[in-house]
Amino acid sequence: MARQRWIATAAAVVAIGTGASYVIRALPPDPTPVADFSAPFVFGRFSVPQDNPLTEEAFALGRRLFYDPALSGGNDRSCATCHIQRLAFTDGLPTAAGLNGESLEFSSMSLVNLLWGQERFFWDGRALSLEQQALLPIENPQEMAQDLEELVRELKGSRQYRRMFRQAYGEVSSENIARALATFMRMLISAGSKYDRFLRGEAVLTEQEELGRKLFMAHPDTKVSLRGGNCIDCHSQFLTSGFRDGLDGFSNNGLDKDVDLPAGLMAVTGNPAHKGFFKVPTLRNIAVTAPYMHDGRLQTLEDVMDHYNGGVVVSPTLSPLILEADNAASPPGSFVGLRLTDSEKAAIIAFLHTLTDEAFLSDARFSNPLEGEL
């Protein structure tokens, strides 16, 4: 008898379990994993947070949020105000424009291939994930000046957003806003430049571009007559971004002398050895993201090359690799800079132009989804 009851209980548990899993599956539709998601082999490993897998629904929601001025307090600017697709998601300004017309401290950063490279975001690396990053500009009084609770209330008032949130995650919440924006940004993958096609064996570089590539990829060594621009010491060979490991993707590339040197990464780590360290930015689409550096101080790629060639300012935390890289043999300590010839500088710039990915800059999947609706 007892045994029969035991069997009955087991059967009931199985029945309830099956039923429950049926109901759970039937409730919100399973979000669709992004189909055929693949990434270039040469970009290497990447990781997506377990609690925020890449799904079509999250991407569609994130894309809409990214472009929606409703995310700002005055309903007058969106993420895309400062991150414009045809400028590789920068804004063309030296430093971003604040809400009251003031200039902010930093230049808007290009949003591309964020699945790779450093796992810290912003010039000083203060955000540790894209989810964490995404809400900061919304709340920032100089950027979008929006109260998060207010925003959630506003989005809940929209039938379309309620539906999109339900399909992607469940409820409308600030966590889910952050997740959706992060998903959209993770999918901003640029791998169709001439350099990528060259790496896949589908394109041939011109002689000048090839010389530029070689110089980009070489640390100069006068002892063996190897000329180089040493860019690869900080901008990785395939991604052209900074390195992923630890804080390897941050350094001081010699823009300022010690007294003028901003804190940079030191503000986050508290380590004086990190004073003036900034996130080494990706160079993908660099030809369309002028002006350059964290405060947009350099107008053109020629200015950038002149900086590395002979304009480097020495400070105690300046990268020893920059301090040492020189294409002319001279008494140690007598000169800081690459001392490349004009045609070598031009070659590196030609190589940098091969990093422009027209298909990415005009990819309809990354464009404003609200445009069609207005």
Binding site: P320, E324, P332
Partner: protein, 246 residues
């Protein structure tokens, strides 16, 4: 429940029986052996100090500081009474920094009960050095990669030297297949492996400059692609790792 057909009950019973049998016969895995190889960065017998002009150039004038010191070890092999174990995808970047003067490489699921021999290389094998496949800690988009045509740096030392008030950069990037050094350690006695075993090593950065051959950093402030210089420093780094008394 009286409505349940006998056949269903039978199926259920068979299932429960199978479950019980599976449970009873499931082998509990033997506790997997683990070994932590703990590397301690040192200079002159003391914990290595980073970022400060703390050290005298051992073979010439000037004081120097260490800003970056790291190296690859690879192909770790353990041997003992019950066989040898070769770690799969065995490529580890041993890296140090201020506050991280020790670095542990963890070997898990070692199918040995004890070991008395241990070997690994400083640097990586030719095949891995010619590949851009990410394996272990090998990453072609990392600081350790020169570029895919040249391969990986095996040992990186960066710092600066103060000489007559001038700050001079020190850059030693050492690689090339011929500079891989295979190290062999044999222990005086068989050591048991458990889930908490560890082996401590000291890594003496000064050996890089005053090991087999005396190297004056004031005279040669950088070594990258010059084969002869690189080989000299490789001879030196071959002796920089030793087993520490526990």
């Amino acid at each position: 429940m009286s409505g349940m057909k006998p056949i269903h009950i039978n199926v259920l019973l068979a299932f429960l029986l199978a479950l019980t049998v599976w449970h009873a016969f499931r082998k509990t895995d033997p506790p997997a052996s683990q070994l932590r190889l703990v590397f301690q960065a040192e200079a002159n017998g003391q914990k290595l100090v980073f970022d400060q002009f703390h050290y005298k150039n051992p073979n010439g004038p000037g004081q120097f500081r260490v800003q970056n010191f790291r190296f690859y070890i690879s192909n770790i092999k353990l041997s003992g009474e019950d066989g040898t174990y070769l770690e799969p995808d065995s490529y580890h970047l041993v890296r140090f920094g201020a506050g991280n003067e020790s670095f542990a490489v963890e070997l898990n699921n070692i199918p040995l009960r004890s070991y008395s021999g241990l070997s690994f290389s400083i640097g990586i094998d030719e095949q891995a050095n010619a590949s851009i496949e990410p394996r272990g800690d090998l990453d072609p988009n990392s600081q350790m990669a020169w570029n895919w045509e040249v391969g990986y740096k095996f040992v990186v030392f960066e710092g600066s030297l103060i000489l007559d008030d001038a700050i001079l950069p020190l850059v030693y990037h050492l690689g090339f297949d011929e500079n891989r050094r295979d190290l062999q350690f044999s222990l005086p006695a068989e050591e048991q492996l458990s889930s908490t075993s560890a082996k401590n090593f000291k890594v003496d950065v000064m050996e890089l400059f005053s090991g087999a051959s005396a190297f004056n950093m004031a005279q040669t402030q950088s070594v990258k692609f010059d084969r002869q210089d690189a080989r000299r420093l490789a001879e030196n780094y071959a002796g920089m790792i030793s087993i520490a008394g526990n």
